[in-house]
Structure formats: structure tokens, C-alpha cells
């Protein structure tokens, strides 16, 4: 059964007024997760091969080659899971 949990180790709300959400991919699945995301999302910019600025369904986010992603303006956990499911499967 395809599940976001196959790729995601932790989801953390950031501390700060921005209310961003950080998604931490499982270490052994991070490269596969990033590959899948890059195939689905629109690449806006690639900074030094470390940060990928992406957009998907009007949601902007950044993926880091270290296996973390930072999502902005996410309304709730359900919306985040919906986007991650679309991006990863």
C-alpha cells in the first residue's frame, strides 16, 4: 500500500511567525523521494545543487538535497498529506 510514511520520517512545524512546515524524508529513501518530487513538481530554480525551489498545485516549497523540504502556507496536515501523496506516487 503506497503511503507517505514510506518516505517521510517526520513532519515538524517550524518555530516562527512564518508557520512553515518541514518534512524530513527517511535517510535511505531521501534520494528516491527527491527524484519523484522533481519529476512531478515545477522547478522554479536550483540553487547550488542544494536547494530546489519548486511549485506544485499553487503551493511553493523548497527541497534540500540533505533530504528535507520546507512547505509554505500549508493550511493543515490533510492538505500537506494530499500534496505529498500526489508528489510521491
Amino acid at each position: 500500500m503506497a503511503s507517505v510514511e514510506n518516505y517521510v520520517a517526520r513532519i515538524e512545524g517550524t518555530c516562527g511567525a512564518e508557520k512553515d512546515v518541514i518534512v524530513v524524508f527517511k535517510y535511505d529513501k531521501k534520494d528516491e523521494a527527491i527524484d519523484r518530487i522533481l519529476k512531478k513538481a515545477q522547478l522554479k530554480n536550483c540553487l547550488a545543487g542544494i536547494i530546489f525551489e519548486l511549485a506544485f498545485n499553487n503551493v511553493s516549497f523548497r527541497v534540500y538535497s540533505s533530504g528535507k523540504a520546507i512547505f509554505r502556507s500549508i493550511k493543515n496536515k490533510e492538505e500537506l498529506f494530499k500534496i505529498l501523496t500526489s508528489l510521491l506516487f
Binding site: 517550524t14 518555530c15 516562527g16 511567525a17 512564518e18 518541514i22 547550488a48 534540500y64 540533505s66
Partner: protein, 410 residues
């Protein structure tokens, strides 16, 4: 002091993150632990693990002896008059909550005021606001200047006959600014108010003497000074501890619980301080390991710890000021600061900055650092924070600058 020699005692510093050597610049959040502290915990569990104070058998007596010796060590480290003035707690937060509840519930009421500053960590704001709602007193906030320094005139002008306690951090966890708590304590006492100092960012980084500062309460955490998590201490003057009611009920904090003659109630007599405030089985190994951390710091010397951090801070700030997109917050008076540098980079959120550094194995903090009101003073969404300790080196700062330059050029 020799940070290169010190580093040999810290196993974690040999770790690599994303194939890069770990550079740990998040010391204001928590510090790494030397072998001596890690071994003190193992030694406890391998050789004399037992509950303290309650038994006559050999290893319980050994554990009790070591636990109380740890209290003596920590008491001497901050210049307390007696080890009975040291209450073991989980950390700074619990220490301040203990005062807010045990002293606050018994001594504060409608018409009274508690005076805090706007630069406080949430731990020195929220407990007072919670108890204020229970007891009907008000919490007054003293202003902070735009550069992050305390507005002493505003703080002092807010004292009145209603003020019962002033609460101030000795070092800001956001800006690293050192506050003159001795000056505020003097004014507090002139108004017959008590003085509580949040020492979470000062006790680990500089010499602190409660007698010299003439303060009534000092709260600090073990994990920010090489000790384990889940252990810290509250210093309080003995006469205050004697008058204060207990914080939590349970074992150890009572002297006697007896069923009243002919009644279905219990008569309870509290234990003596500090045990009156240590309900339940304490974090024995934590306290013993914290005393080992104190021993380690004493061997270096706290004046040298402070000097090392200030030199690193100065070295880093001077280089960071050359980056046009980098804004450093807080006072430019480096002599009045500890090794904490809050900053942002134009066009990037603090979390992006922290994640970029993370990619190179450099650990820094991002966010509010549990001090949202101060970020409102600075008009910031959040900030990135680099903070140094005894094992950090100039070479690490140089590597930080290389990555900073890369980020600025994105």
C-alpha cells in the same frame, strides 16, 4: 584554554553530517557532553543505581552520598551559602514554575505586580501569566531597546509598592546581551520586592555568584552546561524556601503523614528544604552527571569560558558584517555579549538559512528561540542564531563564513 584539546573529550564532534565534519553552533539550545559526563551516567547505572534517601542498604547509601555531594558541588559553583539552597529540578523552566507556583500562589494576589522584561524566554513569562490568572495579579513588561539591550530606566520606573518580584534573564537567549541583574536586584530590594534571575544562558558561560549579585532566586539548566537533559537547579535563599509551600506532593517532600485520631484525614508535615521541593524519586544520575559537568567547567575556569566565547563572537561578527545581505541583531557592544549571534539573510527565511548550513554539517537554530515578544520588538518573523561554546574553534567559524558567503550569493 585549548579548545582543540577540549574537543577530544567530546565523542559527538567526531561525527560527520552529509559527509562534512559536524560543526555545532546551537549551544544556546543545548550543549554537547564530554566523555566524563557520559561516563558518570554509565557509572551510576553500572555500579550504584538505587533510590536515594529511603534505604539502609549499601548502594542506596552510596547513591545518596553522591547525589548530595552533587548538590554541594553545584551550590559552591554559584556561590550559594549552603547546599540546602539548591533544589534539583528538570531545568530552568521547572525552576521558574516552582517559584511561580510555590511562592506565587502563597504570596501574590489582586493588586500585586510581577515585573518581567520583554526579552524574556517564554519560560520566564508564561508561568507568571498562568498564576496571574489564578491569583488576580498583573504582569508588567519592561521595554527593550531596538538594539536588544534592556531599557533600564523603563524597568526601574515600573517598580512600585505593588511590585512583589522582578524577573530577568542574566543573558538573553536571542541576542546574547548580558543584563546587569545586580543593578535591578538592588532596585527590587529597595522596593521590598524579590529578584528572580533566569540563568539558563549565564551560568554555563560566565562566573555567577548569587551572593555578589544579591538575588533571591536563580534558575538554570544542566543540559546547557555540558550536563544531561532533565536536570537543572533552582537556587533560592534558605529563608524563602522555608516559608514557601511545596510545589508537588509525593514521596521525599514529606517528613510525616499520619492519619488523624478519629478523623478520616491525614496530618502532613513537610520535609526540610530542599527536599520539600523534590517530590518523588529524583533524577539521581542526572544530578551526579551535572556535578561532573560543573567539575569540567571549573577545571577550565568560567572567566576563560567567557573570554573564549567573546573572542569567537568578535571574530565571527566582524566577518559577518562584511556581508551586505546579512543583518545581525542585538547590541554592537561585543564586550557586553556572550557567544550568541542572531542574524538573517535578505530574501531567505531563517529556516532556509538553517537548512542550507545543515547541508554542510553546520548546526544552527532558526525560529523564535522561545522569545516571541523580543522578535516582535525586532519586528522579525524569525531569526537564525549561531551560538558558541568551549569546543568551538576559529576554523569552524571560517567554515561557517565560507558557507555564509555561498548562501549570500544564491
Amino acid at each position: 584554554m585549548d579548545p582543540y584539546k577540549i574537543r577530544e573529550d567530546f565523542p559527538i564532534l567526531k561525527r560527520k553530517i552529509n559527509s562534512n565534519p559536524l560543526i555545532y553552533f546551537d549551544n544556546a539550545a543545548t550543549t554537547q557532553k564530554p566523555r566524563q559526563v557520559i561516563e558518570a551516567i554509565s557509572d551510576f547505572y553500572e555500579n550504584y543505581n538505587a533510590n536515594v534517601h529511603r534505604a539502609v542498604h549499601t548502594i542506596s547509601l552510596e547513591a545518596t552520598e553522591r547525589y548530595e555531594k552533587a548538590r554541594e558541588k553545584i551550590s559552591a559553583f554559584i556561590g550559594a551559602r549552603d547546599s540546602s539552597e539548591i533544589v534539583f529540578v528538570r531545568g530552568t523552566t521547572e525552576a521558574i514554575n516552582l517559584v511561580a507556583y510555590s511562592w506565587g500562589l502563597g504570596n501574590l494576589g489582586k493588586g500585586d505586580e510581577v515585573l518581567v522584561s520583554l526579552m524574556e524566554h517564554h519560560s520566564n513569562i508564561v508561568p507568571w501569566e498562568i498564576v496571574a490568572k489564578l491569583r488576580g495579579f498583573t504582569v508588567e513588561y519592561a521595554q527593550v531597546h531596538a538594539d536588544g539591550t534592556l531599557d533600564y530606566e523603563d524597568f526601574e520606573s515600573k517598580f512600585s509598592s505593588k511590585t512583589r518580584i522582578a524577573c530577568l534573564s542574566q543573558v538573553s537567549n536571542v541576542s546574547g546581551v548580558v543584563n546587569d541583574v545586580k543593578r535591578i536586584a538592588k532596585v527590587a530590594h529597595e522596593h521590598s520586592a524579590l529578584m528572580l534571575v533566569d540563568g539558563a544562558q549565564s551560568v554555563p558561560h560566565m562566573p555567577v555568584d548569587v551572593k555578589d549579585l544579591d538575588i533571591d532566586f536563580l534558575a538554570f539548566s544542566g543540559h546547557k552546561m555540558l550536563g544531561p537533559t532533565g536536570i537543572g537547579a533552582l537556587y533560592a535563599r534558605r529563608e524563602l524556601l522555608e516559608k514557601m509551600g511545596p510545589f508537588q506532593g509525593g514521596g521525599e517532600m514529606i517528613k510525616d503523614v499520619s492519619l488523624s485520631q478519629g478523623r478520616e484525614t491525614c496530618d502532613i508535615t513537610w520535609n526540610e528544604p530542599p527536599w520539600k521541593f523534590e517530590a518523588g524519586t529524583p533524577n539521581t544520575s542526572g544530578a551526579i552527571a551535572l556535578s561532573e559537568a560543573v567539575k569540567y567547567l571549573e577545571q577550565i575556569g568560567m572567566a576563560d569560558v567567557l573570554e573564549h566565547e567573546r573572542l569567537l563572537n568578535e571574530y565571527a561578527v566582524k566577518q559577518m558584517q562584511k556581508f551586505p545581505k546579512v543583518t545581525i541583531y542585538g547590541s554592537s557592544g561585543l564586550s557586553s555579549k556572550c557567544g550568541i549571534i542572531p542574524f538573517n539573510i535578505d530574501g531567505l527565511s531563517s529556516h532556509d538559512v538553517a537548512l542550507y548550513f545543515d547541508n554542510y554539517g553546520i548546526m544552527i537554530r532558526s525560529g523564535f528561540h522561545c522569545a516571541q515578544p523580543l522578535h516582535q520588538v525586532f519586528r522579525l518573523q524569525s531569526s537564525a542564531r549561531a551560538s558558541f561554546y568551549i569546543y568551538n574553534t576559529r576554523e569552524e567559524v571560517d567554515r561557517f563564513m565560507e558557507v555564509l558567503q555561498e548562501i549570500e550569493q544564491l
